[in-house]
Amino acid sequence: MEKPAPLGFGLGLRHRYHAEIVKERPDIDWFEVISENYIGRGGRPLAILDDIRADYRIVMHGVSMSIASTAPLDFDYLGKLRDLARRCEPEWISDHLCWTGVHGVNLHDLLPIPYTREALDHVAERILRVEDFLQRRIAIENVSSYVTFAESEMTEEAFLRELAEKADCWLLLDVNNIFVSSFNHGFDPARFLDDIPQERVLQLHLAGHSDHETHKIDTHDQPVIEEVWSLFERACRRFGAISTMIERDDNFPPLHELVGELDRARAIAAAARIRREAAE
């Protein structure tokens, strides 16, 4: 399957900015929407989404697929996700390499897994079933993590690489998550990027995080930091033109500041493209 063409540079669509986006139609190439904010809901949020869709392409990004859970797949959720996709016609659908709960409970967090052969087979089989149900290839995102497991048999990047092949899925690489996890676990984020297969990467996430000295937490409440911009530049050189967006979920700045961050992402990507072409 051919990879969809890059969408350019987008933002996460958040309620805080709805009115301004509808009124001003800012220079943003596309929006990523949190699927759960619209599933099973009507009213103004959906109406605003319809309005924004008239002028912008969108991507659906979920937090509840729980693809790595050992609980049964939630086909009630997946059915609603499919219904939303039929209505919104997103460019693609993504979710996270994580689990959110077992035994019917949802902890509403992106929980980590050990990188084992057992987990790899389990997650790949579930992705294939979800792709079959949704009738589309999905993208899976690396999460920020705060623990590692003694049972792990491979690195996270090796797990992602094998998973993408085994499940025939796309990868959504969150550059900030790579940086946060590399600090928390003591690995080299550049090596992580270098081990990811270029042809599987569909999208990049950028975001800020909170720094607690002993650890970093993926909070999406700060601007993107310099180290993450550097890693993004490396990703652009490695992966070429790729759909990129910035997530902001708290401590919201004026919209023009996020658009300013997007402009910086555009400039870094353009410079990386020149370097990439010069090196070829």
């Binding site: 099973g40 009507g42 009213g43 103004r44 050992t70 077992v102 949802n106 509403h108 897994i113 049972e151």
Partner: protein, 270 residues
């Protein structure tokens, strides 16, 4: 340890508040396993505490941090989330309070929680037309008695302690995305009142209903035609006052945006 065992242990430790990390969690470069695991333990509580505070800001302000925190802990412990959206889980708080032996006795708190949930539900309700009163002009006077109406999906009528509306208004006196419209009036001494919630454009609205308006609107919601609504109202007043009052109610419902559809009598009589 299998993936299944690991997830059961990890979830169990988060829900039960174990100090120790589940077996298999490793020490990191700067934090030991317990400190690393605690990040997840804390995040679970922080995320849902923020969600509940967002959904029930007036309840939190009215109860104070300590009592609201106790309610939050009881909810998390007594009814862990089974919803795929955290917002849906948070909106289940009034149901928990109604069933909990302690909180179901707290009428004012329960009423305020129901009040705030109704506002949120009005905001998220499906879209539908909000007809202008002009559509009535298209109906012939002969059709009026048999007209029926469809209410906007955001419309809710909920019987609540009178304190709920005043506590909410007090907490929102600075700024809110809601508006308390002028009341139609009710029984001033009654401990309970029926509050109407609805959405117009991007705002949720509420106001207390008088007994007559509640009866008329509830009748309309059940598909009762205009003639029967007048007949219901006629039980409490002189017949000559009824048509005017019913028309007054209807006019306000159109103005408020409560009416999504209007149906004339079926000519076939089916």
């Amino acid at each position: 340890m299998t993936l299944k065992d690991m997830q059961a242990a990890f979830q169990g430790a988060i829900l039960c508040g174990d100090e120790d990390a589940p077996r298999g969690v490793e020490d990191g470069p700067r934090l030991n396993a317990a400190a690393r695991f605690k990040i997840y333990y804390d995040a679970y509580r922080l995320r849902l505490a923020e969600g509940l505070s967002t959904e029930f800001p007036a309840l939190r302000e009215t109860l104070g941090d300590e009592a609201f925190g106790a309610l939050f802990e009881a909810y998390l412990e007594g009814r862990p989330s089974r919803a795929f959206a955290a917002q849906d889980y948070c909106r289940g708080l009034p149901d928990f309070m109604r069933e909990d032996p302690h909180w179901r006795e707290q009428d004012n708190a329960l009423g305020l929680a129901e009040f705030e949930r109704a506002l949120s539900r009005a905001f998220d309700a499906p879209d539908a037309p909000q007809l202008a009163i002009d559509v009535l002009a298209a109906q012939t006077p002969e059709d009026w008695p048999e007209l029926t109406f469809v209410l906007h999906p955001s419309v809710q009528m909920i019987e609540l302690p009178r304190s709920a509306r005043s506590a909410y208004a007090l907490s929102q006196s600075e700024l809110s995305e809601t508006a308390d419209q002028e009341d139609a009036g009710g029984e001033d001494n009654a401990p309970m009142e029926t509050v109407l919630f609805w959405r117009q454009r991007d705002l949720s609205f509420y106001r207390a209903l008088s007994g007559d308006e509640e009866i008329a609107l509830a009748s309309l919601q059940r598909g009762t035609d205009f003639a029967l609504i007048c007949a219901v109202l006629a039980q409490n007043r002189p017949a000559e006052d009824v048509a005017g009052e019913a028309a007054g109610f209807l006019g306000r419902w159109f103005t408020d945006g409560l009416i999504a559809g209007i149906r004339a009598a079926d000519p076939a009589g089916s």
